[in-house]
Symmetry: C2
Subunit: 351 residues, 2 copies
């Protein structure tokens, strides 16, 4: 991987603390995280004190910070995995990287530890190629290029706004699949990054992502909340909803989305069979969501991520609202998010 020319003070690493004891998590990431400013947002449902080891440049936000900045009467909830979005809101950096607190550095196929942050920054600072698929994967990687037949006019690509990393060990399945294959682990390290083509939709997982906050920050929000949302990834789809919103925004603004490297290692936890007792609400909602996001188009007058989100919220309310009240609430949360985003952008985050 070529070295990207990003200054360390242009990056925030945002961690949503779902678990109180971050000692082992932070120590395993120490050589990477200690070079950057960290934003840790404590899940407002978490009662215990956070344990954070020394030696990091870190700001911690808790429920009282959230209430102060956002107000407690908001239509947005920052509970559980959604707490990280508060970190996206108060960050002042160009790039944000966010990794789940049950993930540690992975090893590549030669046994070397992966610097996930460096790879995300590389993905975000090299162009994306959404308008034609390069069969040889990322053409900007050292030792790679565009394959024969790739139009020269498209070889400069477009700016990349979102980098979706992957995970080894515990695969990111939904509750039914995880329950059906409790012993299945992802052991295959696929050494590639690719641009998701324009107009193609994918399910973004929030486990391991990075984005250009200046370009698409307003489009990363916790809007879709399941009635029985839990503290395991397979009990949430807030990131999937958000990912499809960002993809639509990127397609509209001619920005790129990449998927693939870097990997992180997900530690085992949770009982998927127990999660199955909850309603399969997320699985059902996806059947409405995907056709919607595949067909939604934004007006030319929407020229910023803020504009796009507000436009999309209107369409969500109108087209999806009648099928399920969860979508009406999501639309309201999207409008509210943009209001808060603008307000926070004008003020000081207070840290």
């Amino acid at each position: 991987m070529a070295q990207a020319s990003v200054k360390e003070n242009e990056v925030d690493i945002v961690i949503g603390a779902i678990h109180p004891d971050l000692t082992s998590f932070m120590n395993e990431w120490r050589s990477v995280f200690s070079r950057f400013h960290l934003i840790i947002v404590k899940d407002p449902d978490l009662k215990e004190e956070l344990k954070i080891p020394d030696g990091f440049d870190v700001d911690v936000y808790t429920k009282s910070d959230i209430d102060r900045v956002v107000g407690s009467s908001s239509s947005i909830s920052f509970s559980g995995y959604s707490c990280r979005y508060f970190g996206f809101l108060v960050s002042r950096k160009k790039y944000v990287i966010s990794i789940d607190d049950d993930c540690v550095p992975a090893q590549d196929s030669t046994g070397n530890f992966v610097d996930a942050v460096a790879q995300h920054i590389f993905n975000l600072t090299t162009p994306a190629t959404p308008f034609f698929f390069n069969t040889l994967y990322d053409p900007y990687r050292k030792g790679a290029d565009f394959v024969r037949g790739y139009p020269f006019s498209l070889r400069s690509g477009v700016a990349c706004a979102l980098s979706c990393g992957l995970w080894l060990n515990l695969a990111d399945y939904d509750a039914p699949t995880q329950a059906l294959k409790p012993g299945e682990r992802n052991a295959r390290y696929v050494d590639a990054v690719l641009t998701i083509p324009t107009r193609a939709m994918m399910p973004m997982s929030g486990i391991n992502i990075a984005f250009d906050r200046e370009a698409v920050g307003p489009a990363l929000f916790p809007a879709l909340r399941l009635a029985a949302e839990g503290k395991f990834r397979w009990e949430t789809i807030e990131d999937i909803w958000c990912g499809m919103c960002v993809k639509v925004v990127c397609d509209h603004l001619c920005l790129g989305v990449k998927s693939g490297l870097p990997y992180v290692w997900r530690k085992d936890r949770g009982d998927a069979v127990e999660s199955l007792k909850k309603e399969w609400e997320g699985v059902k909602l996806m059947e409405h969501l995907v056709p919607f996001f595949q067909s939604v188009r934004l007006p030319r007058t929407a020229t910023t991520a803020e504009d796009c989100v507000v436009e999309m919220a209107g369409t969500v309310k109108q087209q999806l609202g009648p099928t399920d009240p969860v979508f009406t609430r999501a639309a309201e949360a999207m409008v509210e998010w943009i209001r808060i985003w603008k307000a926070v952008g004008l003020g000081s985050p207070g840290k």
Copy 2:
């Protein structure tokens, strides 16, 4: 890789013989090729006798066979790399696999030789997922599945009609890139197969492909011929044109196209700098081609690959014809191909 349940007599391996001495090529592939029926089509420009080692079930076709079946006055040329398409025409099998005669079996990342035929058959006989991108790559592979958020209604996928393999060592660059990076070799084995999303275009390379002949055979033809087309891959785009036609046909008929495994090992040959002295005709044409294929839509009345090709030929002539006579000739070749395909389908190939 799971074993696909395809009988060996459902498969033809088609080799276009650009080089007269196939001894080393066939011997390196012996353990794979000896299980299948082979169709070798000798480049009609080749003067020397073919050398083919014993021990294979092979039918060889030469210029006289081509003249007999197609007629010498055809608007289609089977010279050079295009000779293989004659093999696609006379095959009677459901699946066709075609590999360039300068490629030998590759090794995977653990040093085992890759059975490219088995992988192609696996790709073609497991579903493709063009309507939503699975970030964990091929969900039908052993040890893999659909990622959280993937709609259950799309998990049965669609039939896969085309499998595009990749290559190690000599990367498949165009002449300018190859000349600029004469020493660059592709050493990275990416252990993945993915479905190219619907409506996304990619440059198919004919080096290492397989397809369902019953489904899309009529859409694999040599139509676009450069004025100075040579005997090196970087001097041709006949496969790129053909690949975009097949992709449009697959998208229209709701069939899938996969890219990735299997790899083959491409031996070094040729002088790219010498090729640069020829006009950059292919590179220029791609600038017209790509927007055309990205926007072309077929009528609902086109329900077979034959229908689709004839419809597309009309649009090529009308929309691209005025920009360059090479496109008018391509449109004529496409119509002619369908005429021949139907005629050959009714008769006997004579072997």
